[in-house]
């Protein structure tokens, strides 16, 4: 239950940060903090939660905008980056950003352990 709440709250905050501040604040203000204060059971779990927050926020945002745009933009960008389809592009980018979120989350987790 606690994990689910963290994930849902994280997604909402991630979305807000995303719209208000440059993207790197997601990692400083969100995932690092989540790792630090959430006291999740392990580093791996922290990594997964943070990864999921960033991944979900990004891919949902991508998909919502893409549907409204009939994939006009994303299909061209996928072509530009030699991706098979726009969904590959969304998936890969969201996953990579999720990994960054996961890593900073783990950093927060270990920092909390230290303290």
């Amino acid at each position: 239950m606690k994990t689910a709440i963290i994930i849902i709250a994280g997604i909402i905050i991630c979305y807000l940060l995303q719209t208000l501040l440059p993207i790197w604040w997601i990692f400083v203000l969100l995932t690092l903090l989540i790792g630090y204060v959430s006291k999740l059971a392990s580093g791996w779990k922290t990594f997964f939660v943070c990864w999921l927050i960033v991944f979900t926020t990004w891919i949902v945002l991508y998909i919502l905008k893409d549907i409204a745009n009939d994939s006009v933009m994303s299909s061209k960008m996928a072509n530009l980056f030699s991706m098979k389809s726009n969904y590959w592009l969304f998936g890969i980018v969201s996953a990579v950003m999720g990994i960054l979120g996961g890593l900073t989350g783990v950093a927060g987790y270990y920092l909390s352990k230290k303290s």
């Binding site: 719209t19 580093g43 530009l80």
Partner: protein, 826 residues
Amino acid sequence: MRYIKILACIVIPALVIYFLDTGIGSLPPLGKLMDPVNGFMANAETKTAFESNTVDITDPSVKGTIVMDDRLVPHVFADDERSLYYLQGYITAKYRLWQMDIQTRAAAGRLSELFGPKFIEYDIEQRRKGMIFGAENALATIKNNPKLEACIQAYTDGVNAFMQINETDGKSGLKYAAYPIEFKLLNYQPEAWTPLKTALLLKYMASTLTGFDDDAEMTNLKKLLDEADFNALYPDYTTGIDPIIPTEKIYDFDAATTDTLASTTSDVYYKKVLDIFEQQNQKNQVGSNNWAVGGSKTKNGYPILCNDPHLQLNLPSLWFEIQLQLGEMNCYGASLPGAPAIVIGFNDDIAWGVTNAQVDVRDWYTITYQDETKSAYKYGNGWRKTNKRIETVNVRGAAAVIDTVIYTHYGPVVYENVKMVDGVKAKDKAAREGMAMRWLALEKSEEVNTFYLLNRAKNYDDYRHAISYFSCPAQNFIFASHSGDIAITQQGKFPLKQKGQGKFILDGANPADDYQGYIPFEHNPTIKNPSRGFCASANQHPTDSTYPYYYTSFDFEFYRNRVINTTLNKITGATVTDMQNLQQNNFNLAASEALPILLAKLADPCRTDENACKILTELKEWNYENNAVDLAPTYYQIWWDTLYNLMWDEMQSETIAYVKPNTYFTVEAMRNFHDNHPLFDFKLTANKKETFADLVQQSFSSMISICDSLVKADKNVLQWYQHKHTNIMHISQIPAFSKLMVKNGGYRNIVNATSETHGPSWRMIVELSSPVNAFGIYPGGQSGNPGSKYYDNFVDDWAAGKYYPLYLFKDLDAAGKKALFTLTFN
């Protein structure tokens, strides 16, 4: 261990985030670009982009409404002149901001500051050509015309209003999310628009249309060929042409003359073979068609005017459709993003269009400096002072490059230290020589005034007055009016020349080679209401040989004009549909004249080669139409290209600039040269003498082999449109933002002049009825945003030969009925 993990988990993401935020090398900052809110997905246009609203601008004096129709064409209704051009600037920037930015940076030679050292050479070339100098000259002239200056300033203010330019620091207030995608990909910021940028854009167009010549090539060819061959292959004039001004025209004025005789046709022309110029074997492909059919030849009794300028096809398109309405002025047509007013269009009373004059307005002069300081150069018996202009080319990621460009009274010295391959090579002498360019585009002019006045013109007299301001690039201005007049004028500023002057490199020290004046405007080729009932031009010779002034061209056209004139001579009861069919005429007149000559020389392959026999049969049965899916045009074109290169191998050189004869004079040579003419001999086979028949046979065999190998890769590849391979590339050459291999017919020298990269960039047909009945299309879309469905939505219709009705709305209410959305400024 835990500290290492903490460190790794912070340092690795920090490094990655840093690079994602700043970019690596030529890569953009991928983090910002991929951000689903502010990155490329912010350019994914949704229906909220098409909601009506009141636009918040800082200038309260601007009042008007822009109605966007269902093709995203803005119909601008303004309360006053400043508002009109302000709104034109605003709405053009809204849809074409990056295009406007990059085109003017390219014109000014400022690409290195964006893309680094690989563009230094290009930038230096632009500076040396005097592009900024020419734009400054144009702007200085415009400043003498307060109305025009105010028009350009209003347009500038409108562009800057869209960019939310801060007047203090000149920086754009646009948020990153609102940047056109190209700024994000290329990682730079928009900058304030200025009147100079408008002038630069027009100079860029002048460069596209007149920024080339054959002077060095002709000089070299004169040395390579004997006089008879040179005159046969590169004549200024020939019999059998069908000029723009029909032969009924009598030039009954007293032509201006010069007292001095230029030294160009004798031994005095610059004899040294030059290797400084780029090869121009890849001929310029710019061209256009226009015609106006008088009411006596149309079904409804009203004149019909047609125009299709053939320019490089790009996305975003060169053109931006717009209607401009202010009081009695109500005009519709194609505008250039970056310049106010409409360039090709119509109003309730008249219509006009342009084709390129193709007359040479760029000449080269050898310059001999007095000494190494290059402060003076020889002119007559004395020395003239030079001016020096320091050009600073800023370079991204490297030190700026400083170039001192020497200006003579002819113009800028484009090439210094001319290298001579057979002349004196003394180092000190070479250092004292340069090559100055005299190019009409750099002289004072106010072309914008022509369009400003044409937009308001009501009759023939207004048309003549408007075009009198047009200097360079010289154009064939076609005209038709609701009152029934049709006319055409070749308008530009043309130097008064002796026969042959400017065809070769000129001697800058000889005052006789200098320009002696200009042809008066009234003497430029023009005709009103000719007896044949139509006016037409397709970049051919403007006049017959009775015109009393000398002119030469880098590339007159010989085929499209004859097809157009033949069709229009025959036509009666012409309709808009007839005009559409003519604009899309795929008849290959050049092939119809060349192929019978080739077939007559070819040995019958049918006994020995079944495939060759099949191809030959297809060629014999070909109707000379270059239709999209036909095979015969491909066979012919491969055969022709191979033969052409074999024929003119003498002009193929890596070190010396030559230009090969054009198609027309190549066919003439096939007809008139003896079979054993030395030029037919292939120079690489020293022990063998080839005849024309040998070349025909060899090129045919090569064509068969090429076709065989192509078919092995893909059986459809020989369909004409696949072989022709028309690509409409994004301006920055990004394939993902381009339309590749457009399926249509036509080619160079064909009325439907769609080649690999160039073609009808704007097709317009206007019937001068009341109300005006107009149609048009261009291969692109109104939006410059690749994330918009309006980015390239016209391309398929354009390729299929369709047209859209062009709405010249009388008022706001009428426009409102077709509105997609409305922008209000008050």
